[in-house]
Amino acid sequence: MDFLNALVLLLNYIFVPALSYGSQLALGAIFVSLIYGILRFAYFTAGDLMSFGTMFAILFTWYFQSLGISLGVFPTALIAIPFAIIITILFTLVTDKLVFSYYRLKKSPPVMLAMVSIGTMFVTQAIVRIIIGPFDRRFFDGERFILKANEFKEITGLNEGLSIKSTQAITLIVTIIVVTILFWFLNKTRTGKSMRAYSDNEDLALLSGIDPKKVVMITWVIAAVLATIGGTLYGLDKSFKPFTYFNNMLPIFAAAIVGGIGNPFGAFLGGYVIAFSEILLTYAYRKFFVYVFPENLEPDSLIQLLSTDYKFAVSFSILVIVLLFRPSGIFKGKVL
């Protein structure tokens, strides 16, 4: 019984939150990784593109709410996402046309493009703050919990409760659907294959008649889709604040690199690696050991490896370790 309690404890405080946070990171990391593989630069606007997409999801949510449209138990934001995606796609394509294509055609070094993406980062951030303001916004509606801690306790008779927020379940389901479609697209369709070919060897791909314009365009479309979905899911689960989204750029980059930058599947797994290690290392295990160990061995300190203040530091330390021992990432991306 005690063992079961310990297990539920870990499920509730580590596994479930890490899984949803990891999914949100993974969606971001995939598109950063794709842009790195195909357009060949570090896209510093990543976090702000997510906040841009989320902002429109929120605006559409408000609009639908004012019209009285809702999905019942599901959050209204789910219907808003497709509309937000369209605007974000337009935004990425326009920035590409106005800003990035010039440097791509000139074959500027990747550093130059990364610098330019800092310029777009400033602009995107300004747009988001001017339109919606810098404040914390919650836009979740519908049923908050799928499983409440109390209900779980009643059903199973355990001391520890397990609560699952509906946003966590939605995050996981949407992520699975999106990622499955994405990998099916990349691995099975002709366009997806041409994208991978372009990422592996640009010259060879061009020789075999792949249209670079189309590849680039589709990359931006995928980036916009993933950014909007990932951002909205994060916002539903926690809350929307432009500054937090900007900061999320850092673990997203860490996930993309840990997974092997330029390798979307690696980035997907990298998201979970970062999320789980952040939560595992900063969780206070005292209660867990109280359940597992016999009474006389119970610990008196918190048994917390690192204080929660160092959450970000954990992911970056992992990054440094990976950089030192496997510069191409855990799942073999491009060698940098």
Partner: protein, 456 residues
């Protein structure tokens, strides 16, 4: 010659703008803009050495700035005796333990060849070391933070004049850069950018949350100044005389003695803040000029030519027998040390250390905008970038307000769009920075004052 004219023209415009602010807004604002411009100029010089001379991207500027600030605290604050008694011994023990760990890892690295065994050995040393550190430091930290937490709660510093911290800050930042350089300099350029960005976040996290060292988010306030305080100045005979002489013309017009005295008093209070800021500006200018002379000399020395050669063609320079790795590390350390000076200067000027205020937008990306806009590889350009961008950053709000009023003048006062726009004025500075960066990178990729290379 034409190039020099450009430089002179650009700088005169910049100074003219600052003087204009003095006339239009107030001299106090103009001088504080000038002071921050000078601090930014030091930061851009540091970044410019790394990027312009050697082509290294360093997105960790925020971390070095914060370390410089920490140096200012550790140098100038008087030591807290009770805290040292409570846990000082343990903390010193920890420092020795860390040194021991570093040396044992170095020993392992030297003695054994690259293998799994070696990696396990290193991991073992680190884990055992961390556990020991934790065991020794935890009770000490607790007792240190319990010492009068409202005002101290940390070990304090050395109690030396704060000016020393400008040098100490450079050493702190340089030491950190040495460690980071050893780890990350082998990486490709944009990868290095991400790695340094993340490491600087770690530095901030440590400064924010290690209260025993820096008081963390509780901030350290009331740092000693290297220049006189306004209150002291207002009581000084010579200062009042000076103010009276300066305003002789306007004062002599007033006949009433009582009124005259009151106006003089008002003037003394106003001029005392201006005087203090002038002192700061003087100190900062000395630093900027010294650094400028050194960096200019370095740029045109054989060493500077070698750095440019390495930047432009690493392989060729390597083939010529130049030690690329060593030079990269050297320039990484030098540039970061300069940024460290700027960090200490900034905390000296503010008189307070607020770890919570270090954000990458302001301390890393903005500095990069300055370097790129001003002209990478050219010290005069970098300094100009620091001035121009900081000026715009501060004056963006009034400019945006003017533009919004201009474009929405046809709308009513109560128009929702107009009110919304006016409420979001602070964010237009981001827009201006971004647009400025994009436009400069597109149409003048070498910056306002491009790098000029003397052909010998």
């Amino acid at each position: 010659m034409k190039q020099n004219l450009n430089v002179i023209a650009a700088y005169s415009i910049m100074l003219g703008l600052i003087i204009l602010v003095g006339f239009l807004q107030s001299w106090s604002i103009a001088l504080s803009i000038l002071c921050f411009c000078l601090i930014s100029a030091v930061m851009t010089m540091g970044a410019n050495i790394q990027w312009g001379y050697a082509g290294l991207i360093n997105f960790g500027i925020m971390g070095y700035t914060a370390l410089g600030g920490l140096a200012a605290v550790l140098v100038s604050v008087p030591p807290v005796k009770e805290a040292w008694q409570a846990g000082g011994l343990n903390m010193i023990l920890c420092v020795f333990l860390i040194i021991l760990m570093v040396f044992s890892i170095r020993l392992i690295l030297k003695k054994y060849k690259k293998s799994d065994k070696r990696n396990y050995g290193i991991a073992f040393v680190i884990i055992v070391g961390l556990i020991l550190l934790r065991l020794i430091s935890e009770p000490a930290i607790e007792s240190i933070e319990a010492v009068n937490p409202a005002t101290t709660g940390f070990l304090g510093g050395m109690g030396l004049p704060i000016l020393f911290s400008w040098i100490v800050g450079a050493f702190f930042a340089g030491a950190l850069a040495y460690v980071i350089g050893k780890i990350a300099l082998g990486l490709r350029a944009d990868y290095l950018a991400i790695a340094t960005l993340l490491i600087s976040e770690i530095v901030i996290a440590v400064i924010k949350h290690e209260d025993w060292l820096s008081r963390g988010v509780k901030n350290v306030i009331g740092l000693k100044r290297p220049v006189p305080y306004e209150i002291d100045l207002q009581g000084k005979e010579w200062f009042i005389d000076l103010v009276a002489r300066f305003n002789h013309g306007s004062l002599s017009l007033i006949n009433n003695a009582l009124e005259k005295e009151q106006i003089l008093k008002q003037l003394v209070i106003e001029s005392s803040t201006v005087f203090v800021k002038l002192c700061f500006a003087g100190l900062f200018s000395i630093v900027v000029i010294i650094l400028l002379i050194i960096t200019q000399k370095a740029l045109y020395s054989p060493w500077g030519r070698m750095m440019r050669a390495i930047r432009d063609n690493e392989e060729a320079a390597n083939a010529m027998g130049k030690n690329v790795v060593k030079q990269h590390l050297l320039i990484f350390v030098l540039g970061s040390a300069i940024v460290g000076i700027a960090g200490a200067m900034m905390v000296t000027y503010d008189g307070l250390f607020t770890p919570g205020s270090y954000r990458p937008m302001r301390y890393t990306f903005l500095i990069w905008v300055m370097v790129i806009v001003g002209g990478s590889g050219n010290n005069f350009g970098a300094i100009l970038g620091g001035f121009a961008v900081w000026f715009l950053w501060i004056e963006a709000a009034p400019i945006a307000l003017f533009l919004i009023n201009f474009f929405t003048s046809s709308l009513e006062e109560t128009n929702a769009l107009r009110i919304h726009l006016i409420n979001s004025i602070p964010y237009f500075r981001f827009l201006m920075m971004g647009m400025g960066l994009l436009i400069i990178m597109r149409y003048r990729p070498k910056g306002i004052l491009p790098e000029k290379i003397k052909n010998i």
